[in-house]
């Protein structure tokens, strides 16, 4: 079940590495800040954005509450359009289904557009390992593929890379002189990929939405590579998570108005493709066969939990990443998951196992910016706290921590104990400050706090004492 977890991944180390990388932090902060501003400007175009967020969240929540019905409806509609529907309970099954389609259709050359579901099951790596000719066609994902890297943002996969590192990789890959001009790099990739589009016999896409009533997939993009997948190859395969459903076209209109505004700060992406089923009689392009692979991979388990169910409303816009002070400072790779940022800190443990991602729910200041940026109103901070609760409840070595908090509660409840412990603490901390006003090193479990900053020494008298003196005057 679940996500592929990076082996020996240490969040603390990765976060420290990310935070220490000034170039990375500048790149991520610039890019995310720009996206945040774009979202805020576009949200103001809507007549009533708060009501629109509510409506979008209600549409998705309604669909989730009746997901069995809408999956049934979707399946019937896709089959009516002449397509085939498959269900994959995990990544292994999804890959097997896709490998079977490739073999059965005798497909040799595969073009693939960007999709988080395929990242989740590491599809490209598995296809490559099997010796298949597969190429990522989104510019960012193509750069990820040729540099054997990982994407670090849901929408901007190479937000962590600068033009210099891309130019170096391209110069090696294409055997051309180094040139770090972004339009030149883009043209190089275009020329290479255009030939692949032309000769492709199988195209792969993900899906931003599934429309139950018409049995269709909706994909949004800016480059046109996903549209290429729908145009030239004779076989089309779409791999989509089961939570992407909306009931009707009318609902899709609402979601489309929210997605690009929240994601890239556009009112509309350049291309919005709505498709499903093979080409019709007399048509000269488009797929001859269409296969829709629906991916569960842990989603039904989230669905079964009424508390966490609303997390499946997520439309992967990335708005919560863009506003998150933690994400901005450590970058996406530090999360060790295909789903980084605040929503990743929920999805990764819920899809990939709490034991594998127990650090991520802690990687938040709970400031609430993610909730206010979310177009479908997922209460991310609340769920982060709930996951922390689950971690504490299920943790074997939580004994000491539990004892500590029990003692803490005792101290907080008794005025005498509170004052006495406070006085001892004050004396101790002032002693450690040695009259400098700052404490640069603390012992034991408090050492982490002073490792990267100083602690100001406490005042000589407590607020309580000062208050008492004033009252008696």
């Amino acid at each position: 079940m679940g996500l592929i977890h990076l082996p020996q991944f240490d969040f603390e180390q990765a976060a420290a590495k990310g935070a220490a990388d000034k170039r990375l932090r500048a790149a991520v902060t610039n890019n995310t800040f720009r996206k945040q501003q774009g979202r805020e400007i576009r949200w103001r175009e809507m007549p009533d954005i708060q009501a629109a967020r509510r409506l979008a969240s209600e549409i998705k929540q309604h669909t989730l509450e009746h997901l069995d019905y809408y999956l049934d409806q979707l399946k019937a509609a896709v089959e009516r359009n002449g397509g085939k529907v498959y269900f994959a309970s995990d990544g292994e099954e999804a890959r097997k289904i896709i490998f079977d389609i490739i073999a059965k259709t005798n497909s040799k050359r595969i073009i693939k557009s960007k999709s988080m579901a395929s990242e989740e099951i590491e599809l490209t790596a598995h296809l490559e390992k099997a010796g298949l000719d597969v190429v990522e066609t989104d510019l960012g994902e193509f750069i990820v593929q040729v540099s054997h890297d990982r994407p670090s943002h849901l929408v901007a996969p190479i937000i962590h890379k600068d033009r210099g590192s891309i130019a170096t990789v391209f110069s090696q890959y294409f055997g051309t002189p180094y040139n770090d001009d972004p339009p030149t790099l883009t043209r190089q990739a275009r020329a290479f990929l255009r030939d692949r589009f032309r000769r492709a016999d199988l195209g792969m896409t993900g899906g931003n939405f599934l429309i139950a009533e018409t049995g269709q997939v909706c994909v949004v993009e800016n480059e046109g590579n996903a549209r290429q997948s729908l145009t030239t190859p004779r076989v089309l395969v779409s791999l989509v998570g089961i939570e992407k459903l909306v009931p009707r076209m009318a609902d899709l209109a609402v979601m489309i108005k929210m997605l690009a505004r929240s994601s890239t700060g556009q009112s509309m992406t350049v291309y919005t493709s709505i498709f499903g089923g093979p080409r019709k009689a007399g048509e000269k392009d488009g797929p001859e066969e269409f296969h829709l692979v629906l991916l569960d991979n842990g989603r039904t388990e989230i669905l079964a939990d009424p508390e966490y169910r609303e997390i499946l409303r997520c439309i992967r816009c990335g708005a919560c990443l863009n506003v998150c002070p933690i994400f901005r400072n450590i970058g996406g790779h530090a999360y060790g998951s295909v789903y980084p940022g605040p929503i990743g800190a929920l999805l990764s443990p819920l899809l990939g196992g709490l034991e594998n991602y127990s650090d991520l729910p802690q990687a938040s200041t709970l400031c609430g910016a993610c909730y206010h940026a979310c177009p479908v109103k997922i209460d991310i901070p609340r769920h982060l706290v709930s996951l922390r609760r689950d971690i504490i409840q299920g943790r074997l070595d939580g004994r000491w921590e539990r004892m500590f908090y029990r003692l803490w509660a005792r101290g907080m409840k008794s005025p005498f104990l509170y004052r006495t412990i406070g006085a001892i603490q004050r004396w101790d901390l002032r002693r450690r400050a040695e009259g400098k006003g700052w404490i640069s090193r603390l012992p034991g479990f408090a050492a982490g706090w002073t490792r990267i900053r100083d602690l100001p020494a406490p005042a000589s008298r407590s607020f309580h004492q000062i208050w008492k003196e004033r009252k008696t005057k």
Partner: protein
Amino acid sequence: MSGSSQHDWIGNVRRALGRTGPLAVAPAPPEIDEPIVRLVHSDIRLAELFLQTAKKANFVTDSVSPEELAQRLIDFLKSQNCRRVGLANSEIIESLNLPAKLRESGFDAISWNDLTLDETYDLDCGVTDVWAAVAETGSLAIRPEPGNGRALSLIPPIHVAIVEPKKIVADLLDLFEKMASDEPGAAVSLITGPSQTADIEAVMVTGVHGPGLVRVLVVI
């Protein structure tokens, strides 16, 4: 495992939701209160609004009369040094006799019906009409049909779209309603500007995998 999960996967989802059998009646999705999400409220002067929004979407826009359309197209194609031009077999393109007029002016003009899909990769420009256009966003909606496929508006580096005002709808809500009622299930591509990317250091580059230049001619 593969066999068993294909068998009753919708049942698994149903059980996750705490239900034992299928719903007896179809669920009613939330009512869409239009004032919350509608951005264009009137059908008056849609062509004017569309010209503005299409320009904002980085289309190169113009309005032309049917009489001057052929000449304007020829001038544009010459300015872009186009030679091989593919044209959709659609009513407006054929009624204005555009393929013949382009040929008279020395272009290698080929109709979609006489092209192979592979040949579209060698075209300098594709000329199409649209199934619909959206005043709210400046979007073009292309619906693949025997006379105009997916490729002409995607593969050549330049796309010219001919928009008749009667095709323009006010809001995205209207377009999606049209899609749901008029041949539901038909594929549609919405195009809102030239192909672009900002993947490398957020620098905007146009003309990645689709046309880098899209000329929109509204026939008035």
